[in-house]
């Protein structure tokens, strides 16, 4: 389709790159609504007479489909370009709400699951990865900050949707008619809001660089490569699976606190002089959301300065120490508990937001969006594992008569162990073996997999562009890995 074609969105010379983050945010603020699904749970249970397990299904399926569509649709997103991906996300996400609206209006709950979970889930997955590689091309000098902004939007989406949806349910009512109308308005409003992203998104022209920015000379220091690795090859590398473990462990540790935050703080301080009320616990949950969102922007921006490997050392190492601090501090101080939990959650968010830039460092920008999509399967696994660990251990603790901090001690030790595993995996990350690199930008496009050959010309152009951008980070990693200079392909090599 012409309007959605990549060739239609190549930016002209005067295009301001600061127009790109709002385009990405328009998508991520919208799809981030998924984390506010809980607002609809109780009304749905009452209106359709369904169980709590059933009312959680649309969300759970949506997150599962998010992971699957990001994993399997990533290559298509890279090929078709960000406007196409954002448009697909808009149509799927909004249609999901419209189908769900029909489902509630007709009391056909399967339509809600299919609409919000399956159709909407596709919108989540494609939308999540849609701006990632484009942002890194526009901000070669600050890729962590750029992707952190977008992924912060995913966290911010729930902040917007949660009160908005609640107020709409209050206005329309929580019966089937009211919920159906609420879903209908959501579908239409998100379609309108996401349209900005579709219209505004641009890719930089061939050879574009930020004004005044000069790529640094290659020092051959580090993990940051100028070479490119295809998504197909990336999954064959140990680096991909090490990062998969890193992300999975970091997310599991964060989810452990996040999904039990309200009961956890109440349990911790129930036997003290200052027990935490349910209302105060809601405030604690809100603070964690803020920390999660802020961490996405702040820590990923910091990673541009100190390097990706170092920032994950912080997330995983300091995260483990903070869990230990909570364990040792027990219920002595509410402030200590709250601050430690907030920092852990900021690391959780930071882990999500920094990983695209880490992937770019290791695999180049060639198919980083597709590689990111495949890596997000770690999120799906962690989303299941984290809650199961904490719930199972807390339930077992209650049965055996434990109370207070003792309920969570085993869970927290497990989280520390998981973070240590992640820390070790991060330490093992080394530059990708050159045998996985695309031999030459031009050749790489020509030798692409059969399914990708149709867009060989696009890739030639993209690869030339990307090669120029990849060089700047060469010495940002602080010499942690001691990569021989010859391991990286000089950018000029690809310019010919």
């Amino acid at each position: 389709m012409g309007f959605l074609d990549r060739s239609r969105i190549i930016a002209g010379p005067g295009w301001n790159r600061w127009l790109i983050p709002p385009a990405a945010l328009a998508i991520h603020f919208s799809i981030g609504q998924a984390y506010a699904w809980s607002v609809f749970k109780t009304p749905l249970e009452k209106a359709l007479d369904i169980s709590g397990t059933a009312s959680a299904l649309p969300f759970q399926i949506a997150i599962l489909v998010l992971g699957l569509s990001a994993a399997f649709g990533g290559t298509l997103v890279e090929r078709k370009g960000p406007r196409w991906a954002m448009f697909v996300s808009l149509v799927a996400f909004s249609s999901g709400f419209l189908i769900a609206s029909l489902g509630v209006a007709t009391s056909q709950y399967w339509l809600v699951i299919f609409g919000y979970g399956v159709v909407g889930g596709i919108g989540l997955g494609i939308g999540y990865i849609s701006p990632v590689s484009t942002l890194m091309k526009w901000f070669p000098d600050r890729p962590g900050m750029a992707t952190g902004t977008a992924i912060m939007g995913f966290g911010g989406g729930a902040l917007i949707a949660s009160p908005w949806s609640s107020q709409m349910l209050s206005s329309f009512g929580s019966d089937t008619s009211g919920i159906a109308r609420t879903f209908l308005v959501h579908g239409l409003a998100y379609a309108a809001f996401m349209t900005l992203g579709v219209l505004l998104i641009r890719v930089p022209a061939d050879g574009w660089r930020p004004a005044g920015w000069v790529p640094r000379e290659e020092t051959g220091k580090q993990l940051v490569t100028t070479a490119n690795v295809s998504a197909k090859n990336a999954v064959k590398t140990p680096q991909f699976w090490l990062l998969w473990i890193v992300l999975c462990m970091n997310v599991t540790a964060g989810i452990g606190i996040l999904q039990k935050a309200a009961p956890m703080i109440q349990d911790f301080f129930q036997d003290t002089d200052a027990p935490v009320s349910a209302t105060a616990a809601a405030g604690f949950v809100a603070l964690l959301s803020l920390a999660n969102m802020t961490g996405r922007f702040v820590w990923s921006s910091v990673s541009d300065m100190i390097g990706r490997k170092n920032i994950y050392r912080l997330y995983l190492g300091a995260g483990a120490l903070l869990y230990l601090t909570i364990l040792l501090g027990k219920n002595s101080s509410t402030a200590l508990f709250v601050v430690a939990a907030m920092v852990i959650l900021s690391f959780y968010g930071g882990g999500f937001a920094t990983v695209p830039a880490y992937l770019k460092d290791l695999f180049g920008t060639y198919q980083v969006g597709a590689i990111h999509g495949r890596l997000l399967t770690a999120w799906s696994v962690a989303g299941v594992a984290g809650p199961i660990i904490v719930d199972a251990v807390a339930d077992a603790g209650k049965k055996s008569g434990n109370s207070g901090p003792g309920l969570y001690a085993v869970s927290f030790y497990l989280m520390i162990a998981l973070l240590v595993v992640g820390f070790i995996a991060n330490e093992l990350v080394r530059p990708v073996n050159p045998k996985f690199h695309e031999p030459e930008p031009v050749a790489s496009a020509e030798q692409a997999a059969p399914a990708e050959q149709g867009e060989a010309q696009d890739k030639k152009d993209e690869a030339r562009d990307e090669q120029g951008e990849a060089r700047d980070e060469q010495d940002e990693e602080g010499g942690a890995d001691g990569v021989p200079a010859e391991k990286a392909v000089p950018a000029e090599k690809g310019k010919g």
Binding site: S7, R8, I10, G14, P163, W164, F193, G283, L287
Partner: protein
Amino acid sequence: MAHQDEPSQSAAVKSSPVLLAVVWLWVAIPFAYGLYELAMTSRKLFE
């Protein structure tokens, strides 16, 4: 289809400060609303 190396006509339009302000407000206003509501909820922890 336009050639890859040449920006399309629609994309070649220069971005103005007004456009920049409008698109940032487009995302900033709902975000500010979300932050405000979050701040109101967070206060409960300290009440």
